[in-house]
Amino acid sequence: MKEAGLRLILQSAVLAMAIAAGAHAQERMAPRSSFEAKLEYCKTCHGLEGQGYYGWFPMPRLAGQQPQYMENQLRAFIERRRTNPIMQNVAHALSPSMVSALAERFRALNPRPLGGPRGSTALGKRIYDEGLPESNVPACSACHGTDAKGQNEIPRLAGQLYAYTVGQLTNWGKVRGQGTAVDTSAIMAPTAHNMTRSQVEAVAAYVSHLQ
């Protein structure tokens, strides 16, 4: 009787351990499509909800981004029309169908913006809505929309990382429009060039808070 009881306990224990080990193994090697794995790969740097992330570089918000803009940027990285040592390698490993699918997924996300400095948002809003006529800077809202959500190939700016926006606008000529092929973002080159640093910072601060 005692032996039977002991055997039962031992067998139950082994069974329990096997189930636990199986469950743990499942956690580690959860089956995932290659698309889901690629999506997770993007989110590792760009934020688990696509909200962006401040690493060594500011990695921009992708959530709610215009799909056509995202596809254009990924193509620009591959063709070296846009300079970025990390994204050039990333973009190379993406097939065109994957690019479209990823862009659609990110468009649907809508996390809260990370936000940025608050001091110059009023000035930033004025520049965003009215432009700087004396400097030949058109109103951002004219193309990017009054809600800064963009359209077609014109990117969403709402909720974009402050440091990322500042970096792009102040370095536009160095990172964008490289090479000889025509870039649809060519209008931004003189626009960014005509803004002073503090004007750039004001606009970047303003859009960083927009939902």
Binding site: A37, Y41, L48, G55, W56, I86, N89, V90, H92, A93
Partner: protein
């Protein structure tokens, strides 16, 4: 002869007293750390180097130990108890103190994997969904804000951490490291841990 001997003895006594006085801060909270983490925080066996680490990172880890969120086996065994009565002010002071000590690289990885590790560090492996470490940790693994310096940490420590994230252990809430480490295979971990142990 005797008089010279007395003078030497008095000199030695005074000198040793002075040394003890200078080490007042060292006799307090810092000693509680250096017992395990090495005389100048350069690390010792399983306890990682604290010298030259980003102060914000040290602080968030201390908070994470206190909250019992960082749960890898050695943290659970040693660090949970070590910080149980550590107040935030002292934690911040300790973090700032260790951050200012010049770090010494461990140099204990596999030299043959240096270049492979460096390539993975800088570029990741996009085809395998392995992200570039450089994007967050910087070109020389120096870290920034609460993202740690990896350069020169011990091979065994880096290898253990990368494996642990892949097995589901936590560091801080919102850390991307579990996602980062999941696609890493054993060869990639070996290469990265080796490369980083040599980075100054």
């Amino acid at each position: 002869m005797k008089r010279i001997g007395w003078k030497a003895a008095i000199l030695a006594l005074v000198a040793s007293t002075l040394c003890a006085r200078a080490g007042d801060w060292e006799s307090g909270p810092v000693r509680n750390c250096t017992w395990c983490h090495g005389a100048s925080g350069q690390g010792y066996t399983v306890a990682p180097r604290l010298a030259g680490q980003r102060p914000q990172y040290i602080e968030t880890q201390l908070q994470s130990f206190h909250a019992r969120f960082r749960d890898n086996p050695f943290s659970r065994q040693y660090m949970w108890g070590a910080v149980a009565s550590l107040d935030p002010r002292t934690a911040r002071d300790l973090a700032l103190y260790f951050a200012t000590i010049p770090p010494k690289p461990a140099n204990d990885g596999n030299r043959n994997l240096f270049h492979q590790g460096r390539t993975i560090y800088l570029e990741g492996i996009p085809e395998a969904n392995i992200v570039s470490c450089y994007a967050c940790h910087g070109p020389n693994a120096e870290g920034v804000r609460d993202i740690p310096r990896l350069g020169g940490l011990a091979y065994f420590y880096l290898k253990a951490r990368l494996e642990q994230w892949g097995r589901g252990y936590h560091s801080t809430a919102g850390s991307p490291m579990p996602l980062v480490a999941r696609p890493l295979g054993p060869d990639e971990i070996e290469a990265l841990a080796s490369y980083l142990s040599f980075v100054k």
